[in-house]
Amino acid sequence: MIRTNRLTQSFDGVIAVDALSLEIAKGEIFGFLGHNGAGKTTTIQMLTTLARPASGTATIAGHDIGTDPLAVRRAIGYVPENVRLYDTLTAAENLIFFASLSGVAAPERRVNQVLDLLDCAYLADKRVGGFSKGMRQRVGLAQAILHQPEVLFLDEPTSGLDPMGIKMLRDLILRLNTEFGMTIFMNTHLISEIAKTCTSIAVLSHGKLVFHDRIEAVTARYGDDAALEELYLSLTPVGRLAEVA
């Protein structure tokens, strides 16, 4: 479903993503781990066609990000780390706008369906200007699934959420994956979430892919969350993290 081949990006001569080659199968929940500045968001920006790679290629649902970006955009949904919406518009108006941009034929009806699914129909007529981070995150998720994409990209979806919000989001992600067959690509810092949600993980350090395996294999080899954390830290050494900071 997602295939990258030596995908590379650099800014002002500094390599942000270094020859990344990945394969993610249809129906997977892929957890992308890495320290701050590792290149996770840059990778998502390239895969969602927001940024052009310096070199390398990638395909999403069989469409090349470089040569067929419109087809890629039709196939994906994207939730950025901080969901920004139009504060003067209500949640429903924001969602109708994004549904129309995605070509949803009856946007009002679809928006109601999605808000129901996310248990946030009560937000429909409220202006998003006064929304909490959790409410924004839910509306953000709603805008990404309006057109029922094949692949959903989530950039740090749990960032800033309280434990209840994290659980609610996790349940939704699992539901979108199991009920609607969406392939999910998720950037995250939370190792505990990886084990509970993902079917495969990869670790990026300073733009380089240093680990990629299925979650069963990882848990069989490394056991619980604490062991996973140790694995993660061993792959992104403290010395290198300090260098980034």
Binding site: L50, L70, R73, Y78, R84, F98, L101, A105, D116, Q148
Partner: protein, 335 residues
């Protein structure tokens, strides 16, 4: 159980229309847009009332002089009655559109781009199945639509007030002239909207774009036309040097031959300003410039065609530039 399992019916999206409609709805809920439109309307109204008061003063002076002459048993034919061309009262309003209207267009253009950058909503929009030019076209359509609506409100309101105030009412010819001026005002303000919009979309920091846009506004709206006027040799004495010295037209031409280079530079500075073209065109169509008062519309339009073409070509050129420049999403993600 939600019925989300029903796959949504997808149709070809119409992003230009969708973005324009969203932007207009968003702007109409923005107090800033309402306040600046109201401010332009108020400034234009004040200018109209000031013009009307001045005219009333002229009429009163004429009536007083006429009464004095008649009281002395003399004929009142010696003094000329003030002419009342109602459209000439729009002079102040046109000057407000020229200066404040252009400034408002800059603010709307800046807001149109910078608000998306500041809110970082672009990433959500640009991951939809649309081309980058459609995003630009939708935003530009909304901005120019807002300007057109605001100008229609202002000029429509002033036309109504003029109609009620003049007593004789406005003719269909007058209304046509106001409609033409509205169309040209939209094109004129669109130029400033597009300058600001392009800068706010493409400059590294959108706040710098506003400074640059206002520097351009200052040069085109205030400096260039003033330089042109100030350096005009005939403007050095009130009423005109040649007229005051009673120099005949052929002699004027002969004298001006000695200033050919100077005149080319002076005229070039004026010609470079879209504001000057707007002023020349609107002052002629509305009969504000005495030479054109009372002349039929057709010959005025023919004579002013160059100015008209200049204004529309500038707007179209800037529109084409806005569509042609590639968007940099990485830059757009930062305010």
């Amino acid at each position: 159980m939600s019925d989300l399992t029903l796959t949504p019916v997808l149709s070809p999206p119409t992003p230009v229309r969708t973005i324009a409609a969203k932007d207009i709805r968003d702007a109409l809920r923005d107090r800033f847009i309402l306040i600046v439109t109201g401010f332009l309307g108020l400034a234009a109204l004040v200018a109209l009332v000031t013009g009307a008061i001045a005219l009333r003063g002229d009429v009163a002076t004429y009536e007083a002089a006429k009464a004095s002459l008649l009281a002395l048993g003399k004929s009142a034919d010696a003094i000329k009655a003030p002419e009342f061309y109602p459209l000439r009262l729009l002079r102040g309003a046109i000057e407000q559109i020229e200066i404040i209207g252009a400034a408002i267009a800059i603010l709307i253009g800046y807001r149109s781009a910078a608000s998306e950058r500041g809110r970082q909503t672009l990433s959500l929009m640009l991951t939809r199945p649309m081309r980058r030019w459609q995003f630009v076209a939708g935003k530009a359509l909304a901005g120019i639509g807002l300007l057109a609506s605001g100008l229609a409100l202002v000029l429509g309101g002033l036309a109504l007030i003029l109609h009620l105030m003049s007593g004789v009412g406005l003719t269909s010819d007058d209304l046509l002239r106001i409609a033409i001026v509205w169309g040209v005002s939209v094109a004129y303000t669109a130029c400033f909207f597009l300058v600001s919009f392009i800068l706010a979309l493409h400059m590294k920091q959108s706040s710098h774009a506003l400074l640059v846009a206002f520097a351009i506004w200052l040069t085109l709206v205030l400096v260039a036309p003033q330089i042109g006027d100030t350096l005009d040799p005939d403007n050095q004495v009130a009423g005109g040097v040649f007229k005051q010295l009673n120099i005949a037209k052929p002699d004027q031409v002969e004298i001006m031959k000695g200033f050919a280079t100077f005149e080319t530079v002076r005229d070039g500075i004026e010609q470079a300003s879209v504001t000057k073209h707007f002023e020349r065109f609107t002052f002629a169509v509305l009969g504000i410039k005495a030479t054109y008062a009372g002349l039929p519309l057709g010959p005025i339009l023919i004579e002013m065609l160059g100015n008209l073409i200049w204004i529309f070509l500038t707007a179209l050129g800037l529109g084409a530039l806005a569509l042609a420049l590639p968007l940099n999403p990485d830059r757009l993600a930062k305010a």
